[in-house]
C-alpha cells in the first residue's frame, strides 16, 4: 500500500508495508500516483498518455526507472506483512504493565473528565497498601520472563494517595534484585497537591511524570476547576515549574493538555506553555461523544488540520532557539521505532496491560474501569477472566475493522479500544474522527523529518 501526500511543497511517498518513505520530485510523484502494482520493467503506456500534457516521454521513462528500482528493492508497493503470527502471543501473554488507580477521588472537577469526576462511578475511595501490594505480587507473578515492568500511578488524583504510592514503590523495588525485574514508575497528576516533598520524591523515583495543564489561563480555568469551582492555573503552574526545573534531564516529563471544541486554536496554548518555561509538550484531542461545548466533530476537522500545520511551523521556527521544544505526537521514530509485532498489537490493554482499582478489581485499562461487563477479575477473590483477556489479546491490526487498509497502521498501532467503545459502542471499531487526526499527525511528523533533512 502506498500513501502520497504533498505537505508545504514537499512531495512524500510512504510505502506502508515496508516502512520506507521517499521524497519525490513532481514528475515522479505524479507518475507514482497513477501506477498500480505489479510493476514491470517498461513504463506502462497509459502512464505516458496520462502525463503527456505535462511531461515528455523521455522524462517519464527516466522517472519510472527510479520508481521501478524501488519496487524491485521492496520499497514501493511492497507486499503485505503476513506473519509470523505465531510470534504474536494471542493468548496467555504476560502482563507487564499496571495502571494503579491509587485514588478514586479527585481534588479537581474538570469539565471533560471521563472518570466521572474521579471516582469512575464506583464511589470515592483511596487504595490501601494491602491492595497495592497484591497488585505488585500479581504483576510479578504474571509477568513471567518479562524483565521490565511499568507501574503508572493514576487516579482520580494519585497525590491524594501519596502514602500508598511511596509504600508501593518501596515494596516493588524490594523485588528487583530478587526476581530480576526492573520497575519503571510513572505518575499522572493535576499538580494541585505538589509540594517540596512529593516533588523531590517524584523527581527521584518516577521515570516519567505527566502534568496536566491545558495551556492559556482562560482555557485551563474554564475547564480545570477546583471542587469549589475556581480556576486552577495560578495554583498549579508555579508547582509544575518548580518540578520541571529540578528534574533530571535524563528523565521524562510531559506537560499535557487537552483541546476541545473551545480551543481548536491550541497552538496558542502551546505558546503559553513555552512562555511558562515548559518544553516537553503534548496537546491532545478530547474524546467525548455527543453534543455540548466540548466534543469535537467532523465540522472542526479542517480547522484542526490547519492548526497541526501551524504547529509544525511553530516547532521548526523554535529549533535552535532557547524555546526549542518537543511535541509528543510528532516524535515519530521512522527508523528505530518498535518492531512490527509491537506495532500490530498496539496498546496491549486487557492482556499486557491492566488497571487495578482501590477495591482490587482488575480492568483491561484505566478507561474501562467501572464498565462492569469488562471487569477481568479481583485481587482479593483471586479471579482473572482469561477468556475475556484473550479477546483483548486477539485484537490487532488484522482484526480491527478498517485498520488493515489504513496507510498509517504501523505508526498508529490500531488506536484505542476504549475510545472505540465510548464513541462507537464497539472496542474493535475504530473511532473515525480519532483516526483522521492520527493520520494527520503522522503526516506532520513525516513532513518535519523531511523538512529537517532537506535543510
Amino acid at each position: 500500500m502506498v500513501h502520497q501526500f504533498c505537505f508545504k511543497g514537499i512531495n512524500i511517498i510512504v510505502d506502508t508495508e515496508s516502512g520506507a518513505v521517499h521524497i519525490a520530485d513532481e514528475i515522479t510523484y505524479d507518475l507514482c500516483e497513477i501506477l498500480t502494482p505489479p510493476l514491470f520493467e517498461a513504463c506502462p503506456e497509459h502512464a505516458y498518455k496520462a502525463l503527456s500534457e505535462k511531461y515528455g516521454r523521455y522524462e517519464v521513462t527516466d522517472a519510472y526507472g527510479e520508481l521501478y528500482s524501488l519496487y524491485k528493492a521492496g520499497e514501493l508497493f511492497s507486499e503485505e506483512y503476513k506473519g509470523p503470527d505465531s510470534k504474536i502471543p494471542l493468548t496467555g501473554a504476560p502482563i507487564k504493565a499496571l495502571c494503579l488507580h491509587v485514588s478514586h477521588d479527585c481534588n479537581m472537577r474538570c469539565g471533560y473528565c471521563f472518570a466521572k469526576t474521579g471516582d469512575f462511578g464506583t464511589g470515592r475511595n483511596i487504595m490501601d497498601f494491602e491492595t497495592a501490594k497484591r497488585a505488585i505480587d500479581f504483576v510479578i507473578e504474571r509477568s513471567g520472563k518479562r524483565r521490565n515492568i511499568e507501574i503508572d500511578f493514576f487516579g482520580g488524583e494519585p497525590l491524594m494517595a501519596f502514602d500508598t504510592v511511596k509504600k508501593t514503590v518501596e515494596y516493588a523495588r524490594g523485588f528487583e534484585k530478587k526476581c530480576d525485574k526492573v520497575f519503571r514508575f510513572t505518575i499522572t497528576t493535576n499538580g494541585l497537591l505538589l509540594d517540596e516533598e512529593n516533588t523531590d520524591y517524584i523527581n527521584r523515583e518516577m521515570s516519567n511524570v505527566v502534568l496536566s495543564l491545558d495551556g492559556r489561563r482562560e482555557i485551563n480555568d474554564k475547564i480545570r476547576k477546583t471542587v469549589n469551582g475556581e480556576g486552577t492555573f495560578d495554583a498549579i503552574v508555579p508547582k509544575m515549574q518548580r518540578l520541571v526545573k529540578l528534574r533530571n534531564k535524563n528523565k521524562d516529563h510531559y506537560i499535557r493538555g487537552t483541546f476541545t471544541k473551545e480551543n481548536v486554536d491550541f497552538c496558542s496554548d502551546i505558546e503559553e506553555m513555552l512562555s511558562l518555561g515548559f518544553r516537553n509538550l503534548s496537546m491532545e484531542p478530547v474524546v467525548l461523544k455527543g453534543k455540548g461545548p466540548y466534543p469535537l466533530s467532523e465540522a472542526e476537522l479542517p480547522r484542526i488540520y490547519e492548526e497541526y500545520e501551524r504547529l509544525c511551523d511553530l516547532l521548526l521556527s523554535k529549533e535552535n532557539t532557547d524555546q526549542e521544544f518537543l511535541f509528543f505526537h510528532f516524535m515519530i521514530d521512522l527508523d528505530q521505532g518498535p518492531c512490527i509485532l509491537k506495532r500490530m498489537r498496539g496498546c496491549g490493554a486487557g492482556f499486557e496491560y491492566v488497571a487495578v482499582t482501590p477495591e482490587g478489581d482488575i480492568y483491561p485499562c484505566h478507561q474501562f474501569v467501572g464498565h462492569q461487563e469488562y471487569k477481568l477479575g479481583n485481587l482479593y477473590q483471586n479471579t482473572f477472566d482469561f477468556a475475556l483477556s484473550d479477546t483483548f489479546a486477539g485484537i490487532n491490526l488484522k482484526t480491527r475493522s478498517g485498520c488493515s487498509e489504513c496507510w498509517a497502521k504501523y505508526y498508529c498501532g490500531g488506536g484505542c479500544s476504549a475510545s472505540n467503545l465510548t464513541v462507537n459502542g464497539d472496542t474493535a471499531k475504530p473511532y473515525e474522527l480519532g483516526c483522521k487526526l492520527e493520520r494527520k499527525r503522522v503526516e506532520c511528523a513525516i513532513y518535519l523529518k523531511a523538512r529537517r533533512m532537506m535543510g
Binding site: 521524497i23 527516466d62 520499497e75 503508572d152 474524546v287 515519530i332 521505532g337 509491537k342 484505566h366 498508529c412
Partner: protein, 47 residues
C-alpha cells in the same frame, strides 16, 4: 537517484526477525495519559 530521496528505508519487516520480545513500554493512546502512538516508542532490544 535524481528524482527521489530516501527519507527512511524499508526496515519494518526485518524488525520482525528479532522482534516480539515484549520488553518495550506499553503505549496507551488515550487522551488522558502518557498517551502516544506506537511509532514513538523506544525499542528496548537495540544493542
Amino acid at each position: 537517484m535524481k528524482h527521489l530521496t530516501k527519507l527512511c528505508s524499508a526496515t519494518l519487516k526485518k524488525s520482525a526477525e528479532k522482534g516480539g520480545c515484549g520488553e518495550c513500554q506499553t503505549s496507551c493512546q488515550s487522551a488522558c495519559k502518557t498517551s502516544c502512538t506506537v511509532a514513538n516508542q523506544k525499542c528496548e532490544n537495540k544493542k
